[in-house]
């Protein structure tokens, strides 16, 4: 079956359009001269690469630990504040990594309250009198990045735990196996890996935190080559290495997962009931769940609130309300677009495509692995020729708006795809075949079977995307039309000058705007699991 059909061809074309800016980056990488490489190899590149790997391993491990442990506890055990943690553990997702870097530095640096209190308490005179861990370090970066990135793992893993059929647990109980290691963990693997992949891509492409903490990663190297040596092609070449690292990672996972099934054989699913545990365990579980929430949400929010109170008089409410409306509208429209495309692409890739088409669709979601600004430059190059159409035939503002939606799609498609893909792995292929046998069209199959069964995953992905776009900075900064501010750009223009009082209220709004969807999402997941 060659699979060049009415579904796969248009979706393939859409994927190609989406991936064009990435191709533009590659083109620029191949075109450019490579004379810089001997210099880079002999000086900074090994260091950048090593730091990048350490950061990835660190953030990956800690995020997995936070995400899986909490997801398991809230799905499996009854303990105090469990239903609060269910949704609250998602809150750190709404805190942008660059904000958390600022807030932690403010808190833990020499002049911050923590060290100030310690000095007073122990009567130390200056920094030579004692040792205190420097937050602007690799360990600091791993800690702060993990504490806002783990929700990707938590969310997807939890969605998976909730829908696990009880029959597997019963079987494992009969054989005396531990339910977590023998059932939950292996079966949640696609979801865990999807979450981990998002965490790693976010880590690789982060600029704000590593720049603020002065961690020399490949991304920082990209900017030094681009702006310091005026070599966009050199920067594109390093970016392409980053990209390859990600592609290798994702491919390894695909290969490893190839011959495994994760769906339930019976259509009637009964899911796990909560287990009662001893009081000591209850306290322990409470603490385990509180820790990441504390690190990723309560601390940064308290610091922000403190700034808001200090700088209350200088908050420009009018400006912030306008900016909030803009931000929410564009995030909403873009996340709808992205989830629609994601669903279409993943469904068609899974059921209607050959290997080549699958690869094209897969590649379309790799924009997530590039540093935002580099991706933005790729998009700028790609839409350059569209300007006539966009800016002068339609209108400058609408044109700029469309370009932004397109850019967000390229950037965040991976989140939508990852989430939907892990949903699809749970659908028994027999269902699809049965529908086919009954002569139903593919469209009907989508409507009657795939859509209802992946509903939770679509929501999960949509909300992650929404919150991510609210936070998105480098792409919005470069591609927006004139006089256009989102909450993130608003925060940035002050925060980059260390004017935190002015920016903290807008930063707080970013978090609050993400709060509503997060609570809604958690309710939906719960409702779904009860049905």
């Amino acid at each position: 079956m060659s699979n060049w059909n009415i579904w796969s061809v248009p979706v393939g074309i859409i994927s190609l359009i989406i991936i064009s800016p990435v191709l533009a980056i590659f083109y620029s990488a191949l075109l450019g001269d490579t004379s810089l490489w001997p210099h880079l190899f002999s000086t900074v590149l090994p260091r950048y690469l090593l730091n990048t790997l350490i950061l990835m391993i660190g953030v990956g491990s800690l995020s997995l630990f936070f995400g899986i442990s909490t997801a398991w506890l809230v799905s499996r055990y009854e303990f105090p504040a469990r239903s609060f943690f269910e949704w609250a553990l998602l809150l750190p997702a709404a805190v942008p990594a660059y904000i958390i870097a600022y807030t932690y530095t403010d808190l833990l640096e020499y002049a911050g309250p923590v060290q100030g209190y310690l000095r007073e308490f122990f009567n130390w005179q200056n920094s030579q009198d004692y040792w205190f861990p420097n937050i602007r370090s690799m360990e600091g970066a791993i800690l702060v990045m993990s504490s806002v990135l783990y929700p990707y793992v938590y969310l997807l893993t939890r969605a998976s735990f909730i829908t696990l059929p009880i029959s597997y647990f019963q079987t494992s109980a009969i054989y005396g196996r531990k339910p977590f290691f023998s059932v939950a963990l292996p079966l949640a693997r696609p979801a865990i890996i999807a979450g981990l992949a998002l965490v790693l891509m976010e880590t690789i492409s982060d600029f704000g935190t590593v720049d603020y903490f002065a961690i020399e990663t490949l991304t920082l190297g990209v900017f030094n080559v681009w702006l310091g040596m005026n070599s966009l092609s050199g920067a594109a070449q390093i970016s392409s290495i980053l990209f390859l690292i990600v592609v290798v990672l994702l491919t390894l996972e695909l290969i490893a997962r190839r011959n495994q099934r994760f769906y339930e054989k019976h259509s009637r699913q009964q899911t796990l009931e909560l287990e009662n545990v001893s009081n000591i365990k209850k306290i322990l579980f409470f603490v385990i769940c509180l820790a990441p929430l504390f690190l990723g949400f309560l601390i940064p929010i308290s610091v922000l609130l403190n700034f808001v109170i200090k700088g209350y008089s200088i908050i420009n409410f009018r400006e912030i309300i306008d900016t909030t409306i803009t931000s929410i509208s564009i995030s909403f429209v873009a996340s709808l677009t992205i989830m629609f495309l994601s669903f279409l692409m993943v469904v068609v890739a899974t059921y209607k495509s050959n290997t080549f088409q699958k690869s094209v669709i897969f590649l379309a979601s790799c924009g997530y692995a590039f540093p935002g600004t580099i991706l933005a430059v790729g998009i700028v190059v790609f839409v350059g020729w569209l300007n006539e159409l966009f800016y002068f035939q339609i209108s400058y503002f609408v044109g700029g708006f469309l370009v932004l939606i397109f850019a967000y799609t390229l950037r965040f498609l991976a989140i939508g795809n990852g989430s939907i893909r892990s949903g699809l792995t749970r659908i028994n292929p027999n269902l699809i075949d049965a529908s086919k046998t009954m002569g139903r069209s593919f469209l009907t199959t989508i409507k009657k079977i795939i859509l209802p069964l992946t509903y939770t995953y679509i929501l999960v992905g949509g909300i992650l995307v929404f919150v991510d776009i609210l936070k998105e900075l480098p792409i919005t900064l470069l591609l927006r039309p004139f006089n256009f501010e989102t909450l993130a750009t608003y925060v940035y223009q002050y925060a980059s000058d260390e004017m935190l009082e002015e920016s903290s209220f807008a930063a707080l709004i970013i978090v609050l705007a993400g709060l509503g969807p997060v609570v809604f999402l958690s309710r939906t997941i719960k409702k779904y699991s009860l049905n």
């Binding site: 210099h39 880079l40 000086t43 900074v44 260091r47 020499y110 002049a111 200056n126 920094s127 030579q128 602007r136 903490f213 002065a214 900017f223 030094n224 681009w226 702006l227 310091g228 040596m229 005026n230 070599s231 966009l232 700088g311 200088i314 509208s329 429209v333 600004t373 933005a376 430059v377 700028v380 190059v381 839409v383 350059g384 300007n387 006539e388 800016y391 002068f392 209108s395 400058y396 503002f397 609408v398 708006f401 480098p474 900064l477 470069l478 591609l479 927006r480 039309p481 004139f482 006089n483 256009f484 223009q493 002050y494 980059s496 000058d497 260390e498 004017m499 009082e501 002015e502």
Partner: protein
């Protein structure tokens, strides 16, 4: 539900189309590397005076690439940068037009503009040394070269070398002393650092205040911004703990860099753009640069603000600043090699 959704979308589209009609015809579009909060007061003044509306897009990276990609279709008229190297890239990519304006040539001295009148500096800043009042006796350091001396081992703080400002400083040292000496200087400087380069210029002064180091490299305007920081009075304390040292006063003068601008080749509102550029060099705007941003005016007819005066007169390095841009890539390579 579906209907509601359609209405929602239509509503948005209407808003965007409507907002488009709000754009005045008489306008000028600016791509700016400088934050809106720092330049908007200038534009408000300009609009009040001329009736020309100014639209701004601010980004710190990638505006050059955006202008190149947009080509003839670019909506941008004027580019404003905070660093000469960036400005020079626009020149190199042939994106700027030559402007023959009496106002500009009167207001801006020759070494602060392009020899073909394609770009113009609008304000200056000197990159100086901030030294601890307590721990560094007066006159114990006079030249930037001395930062490499062993007596400063473990006593110096800087932001990362690959920041524009440090790169440009190193470029000026390459121009003065040659590549080899400059690299020696940089690698000895790295040996002298009290801590891994991190944070911005202000953070280095803060480190002096905290006793982490004794000498830091800083742009002049940060001193004013810290000294008069009402919102964050703690910074006033940082400023109190340092003396300013203008370097190389007995030889080539202190390294300076500029913020500047130029009119884009494919500008649709060239006259307005030139008018704005001229406005920015006039005494009124030039005074704003010095009173609001603590930058040095380029227009020599403008008297320095009281504060700038209090920092003392200084001799500036008269190296044509184009050369800083030329040498920036060489400087970055040195920075990579010595790990600054």
């Amino acid at each position: 539900m579906k209907n509601q959704f359609t209405r929602f979308i239509v509503f948005f589209i209407l808003i965007f189309c409507f907002s488009e009609s709000l754009y005045a015809k008489n306008e000028v579009n600016v791509y700016s590397y400088r934050q809106p909060i720092l330049i908007n007061p200038f534009f408000e003044e300009f609009t009040k005076k001329t009736g020309i509306k100014v639209n701004v897009l601010h980004a710190k990276k990638g505006l050059l690439e955006r202008v190149i990609a947009e080509g003839a279709n670019t909506p941008a008229d004027l580019i404003l940068t905070v660093d000469i190297a960036r400005l020079n890239q626009f020149l190199k990519n042939d994106l700027l037009i030559e402007i023959n304006s009496n106002v500009l040539s009167q207001n801006i001295p020759a070494h602060l503009k392009d020899s073909n009148n394609k770009w113009f500096a609008l304000s200056k800043r000197a990159r100086i040394l901030a030294v601890s009042k307590e721990r560094v006796p007066l006159n114990s350091i006079k030249n930037i070269e001395e930062l490499a001396e062993p007596k400063w081992r473990g006593k110096i703080c800087t932001r990362p070398g690959s920041h524009d400002y440090n790169r440009s400083l190193l470029a000026s040292i390459i121009a003065a002393n040659g590549v080899k000496k400059a690299e020696e200087w940089a690698s000895n400087l790295v040996l002298n650092l009290a801590r891994k380069p991190e944070g911005n210029d202000r953070a280095q002064v803060k480190a002096i205040h905290e006793g982490v180091c004794d000498v830091a490299v800083m742009n002049t305007y940060y001193f004013g911004k810290m000294k008069f920081n009402e919102k964050n009075p703690e910074q006033q304390e940082w400023a109190k703990s340092i003396n300013l040292v203008f370097t190389n006063q007995e030889n080539r003068g202190n390294h300076i860099n500029v913020a500047g601008g130029g009119v884009l080749k494919y500008s649709k509102n060239k006259d307005n753009a030139i008018t704005l550029l001229e406005f920015l060099t006039q005494p009124k705007a030039q005074e704003l640069y010095s009173t609001m941003n603590f930058e040095y005016p380029v227009n020599s007819s403008v008297l320095l603000s009281e504060e700038l005066n209090s920092w003392g007169e200084f001799k500036e390095d008269k190296l044509p600043i184009e050369q800083l841009a030329e040498l920036a890539p060489t400087a970055q390579k040195i920075i990579d090699r010595v790990g600054w």
